[in-house]
Symmetry: D2
Subunit: 310 residues, 4 copies
């Protein structure tokens, strides 16, 4: 792992896993997504990771027209790096998932490094009623979801987005995904420094135990040496503890309502910015400094805010 | 992990990953599958793990009629436990994969504990010509394979085969698969002792490094305590070293041409029995004893050879 | 490991490793030791770990008469658990080290679980002048120190202090020390729950890397199952990060000027209480609650403040 | 770790831990030590690690005159590397321990990388009578032994033996010892490649669990990168399993009656050569080749058999 002098905070503002019923704070209108993104950047996030949602119902969408309703607004008001999903939602095809990123040519996009079951169905029983009709079947049917990312899919995304100079947040949900990444690195399809997002606690992926955090890190060290920057996200209640562990070990962190709706034990967060502020406050207890967007661009070797298509 | 006094050797006779071009020793006619199974049992294997193949071309098939051409012959000539795949091949639907096991009601069947990419495409360039026309596209297109095993699929297999009293070889290709297994164990859908086959070196799954061997074992210990028997298979050249590591740590082993075509560095095995003999000889150097089929039945709590439908 | 609902904070007020020259805040007069102990307890420490020092020069001493100058004062003003060293300083004999604890019969005493080199000589070059003449040779000659704790010594301390109903803080500086503890636990010389203090970053012991933190924890889990409470101290700059890691994993923490003289990067702490307040503030970010002295007594099964001889 | 093409087998012929009562095969006369050394070399050992014993009673001795009774005889009859202990026995002073090595100026000598308890007292109750009067107290009093190797001692041995061009077998009994070695490596007192002997299962040191084997290896990788060759010895019944694990992971092995008196479960070895033959036979099952003495000299960068003083 390449040790940073400064910690990069990514904020994943809305994602595709949570649904409007689960938290009133989860943004889905373009206005709310833009506002929460700007607030998160002002609170200290140097990278904003974004999905789009249907402005009326909050249902995940890959439609570039929806992205266009909030991306320019964010870009005008902050200098944070914009990082677009290519994971979309488990129900989209790979083509739908790539659509917006191909149009928008962002500085970064996510790239999921393998196929896996990706489930949240046990959550469904917590809710008696749902705000929108798509939500309950979406959550319940996740027992049959496969989050599809074959070797061919990954290679395709690397080629298409690589041509646009977009760099990747390599999302790794299990140990094998790091080996998949090593396969592509060895073939030279991607160039270091790699930005590896190790993900813990998704049902279907590696669990949120500290042993696993350490093991993913050690495996990445073995496979990539100093050629990567390490970032960590953990789902739900493990978000802040895992971010803290990672930062104390020289890594970077991801927070945001995509990954957890909470701010403390049993307490829903009121905004993305609240989570960013909290992790920043914790890091300051350890004399850890936060990277600015410009510093994040340098660390990750990004093409620059002026090279995107929005 | 439950420590055995004796080591259970599983032999996976033909599988669905290798193709006839890769080794003349790979059995695919019913006669050859039966003969190699019997020989492997006589050499020391107490469990025979079986797939079926088209008798003319060696292409993987799920057709129970093909299984019927070799299963009775094996059963008559050995008392080894017969363990049927429910993984089939990456190109079959889950229904096709279950078909034979539902008919045959074996003492054991495999149960793959999660979805993952499952690829062998880099092997294709080693072969200039192919014996059968299905082989090359089968191998090359594996860059787009997902080995499908959703939570819903797994639950279905547990329910259907559980009703037949069939026990599972839980195939775990990565750390998350152990968590998936824990999810079902916690719900009580399966009962200990679990027979966990940890698998190393499949492209798409966890790599064949000894760190990983140890970590899968420690993770299983954490999740299942003494409620499981541990078995190990590693693909290709790591087959014998990983089997040896596992047995020295109190685990069980799987060998066979499904997992590796080799017997030594660069040397193709001439039969499944040759691999069984080799691991048996190695284990005897460490005063480790081999379980008989009857001992394996007791250790794994199987229903007995007289309760199957063939 | 036994998971606590609440975190026990131990404060090690003065120790024997640091010398007066290194920090003006390091207490060595009986009045200062008493005052800082009381302040640390009020800030949230439920256990106060104590050594004595020569009231004039700050040199470590095992003399019970010196302990008597501050122990009653602390006992009157707080209900914190008093934990006496039996490690003394590297230059004392085992008899000198035990002397005070035998007289005082505290609720807890430390018990070092093996012999090791224990060195701080590289620190000496940081100081141009020294407040007291004993300091420089004490620090420089530590290149030839062995911290003596043979199996015979340990057994003796277990027997003598065990008769007084004193429970142990088992100080483990390396992996082998956990095995030594297991040897005595297996013989039944000590009874669970054990309070295991794993120590990181002493020159001669295991280093302060997070891998080691995790490995000591996993080793203790393997050897003691749920029969122990885990506590962590790391020397110097790793004090707060390691305490935080441990608490996030269900462990307890030790802070105090014995272990680190610092409060932030390059900034000396002004008191023991300042370190206690800091770790308490960090823990509260994660909704972790602090054990009161009474709760600590219950968790660790201590004899009670009224059963000591001072 | 530097991966060898070939495996170096060290044979530790007699040591100082076992006593004549424990096995008739343990050599202690100069003739027997010489003969078993030569036989071990012929069986495949490229390094012979030697201690001396009183020719009449088998009691460990550091007397160079005793070494002179067998060293030349070995040197004449084999080209194996001679590696002299500087650990001597737990009852010798550091001066006594160094005495012979200083005279003899061997190609290699052992260098123990830290102080620790080193005990075998629980063995004493296995024997009802003893061949020699020194044996029983020697074994029983090991509950109070410290194997002394302070930083100052280690530096002294590095300086003295380094001047003679002697290279070290760095004996590491616990994780901290690797950190101690790193301290000296960082100061430049020793030059790579380092030959690190990690030792498992000595009472007082790290236990003989495979987790520990892996962790010592990973720690050495972290601290020394490719600057070291790894060798493994485990005491007693773990000798062959741990040697096998190590060799399968690219390491080297040490066998011999110093470390284990056994050849199989409950069966005493009849000679050192028998153990060498056994590990060689096991390694050949995995297509692993054995280094000749000349190859070992090249791998470890030794001064040559003609540069010693005997
Ligand atoms: Zn996302
Ligand atoms: Zn199979
Ligand atoms: Zn202390
Ligand atoms: Zn020796």
């Amino acid at each position: 792992m390449k040790k940073n002098r400064k910690v990069i905070i990514t904020c994943a503002v809305t994602g595709a896993m949570h649904t409007p019923t689960m938290s009133d704070a989860l943004p889905f209108t373009p206005e709310d997504i833009a506002q929460q993104s700007v607030d998160a950047a002002e609170a200290g996030a140097s990278i904003i990771h974004l999905h789009a949602r249907n402005p009326e119902t909050g249902e995940p969408t890959g439609d570039p027209k929806v992205y266009e309703q909030f991306l320019p607004a964010i870009n005008e008001r902050t200098d944070a790096v914009i990082n677009l999903t290519t994971g979309g939602s488990p129900t989209m095809t790979v083509e739908e998932r790539l659509w917006a990123a191909m149009e928008v040519k962002p500085e970064m996009c996510s790239l999921n490094m393998g196929s896996l079951n990706f489930a949240m169905f046990p959550l469904a029983d917590r809710y008696k009623s749902w705000k929108y009709s798509w939500e309950e079947p979406y959550v319940r049917n996740s027992d049959d979801f496969i989050f599809r990312n074959t070797f061919r899919d990954i290679e395709k995304i690397m080629n298409i987005m690589g041509e646009h100079g977009t760099k990747f947040e390599h999302e790794c949900y299990d140990v094998g995904h790091l080996y998949n990444l090593a396969y592509f690195a060895d073939r030279g399809l991607i160039k270091p420094p790699f930005f590896i997002q190790t993900i813990f606690g998704i049902m279907g992926g590696i669990g949120a135990d500290e042993d696993n955090l350490m093991f993913m890190r050690k495996t990445a060290d073995k496979l990539f040496g100093d050629d990567y920057h390490w970032s960590v996200l953990a789902a739900g209640k493990n978000q802040m503890p895992f971010s803290t562990h990672a930062a104390l070990m020289g890594g970077n962190v991801r927070v945001g309502l995509e990954d957890s709706l909470f701010i403390g034990r049993g307490e829903l967060a009121t905004s993305n910015a609240q989570q960013v502020s909290k992790i920043k406050r914790i890091l300051s207890e350890f004399s850890l400094e936060i990277a600015t967007p410009e510093e994040a661009r340098q660390i990750l070797n990004l093409k620059g805010q002026d090279k995107v298509s929005f």
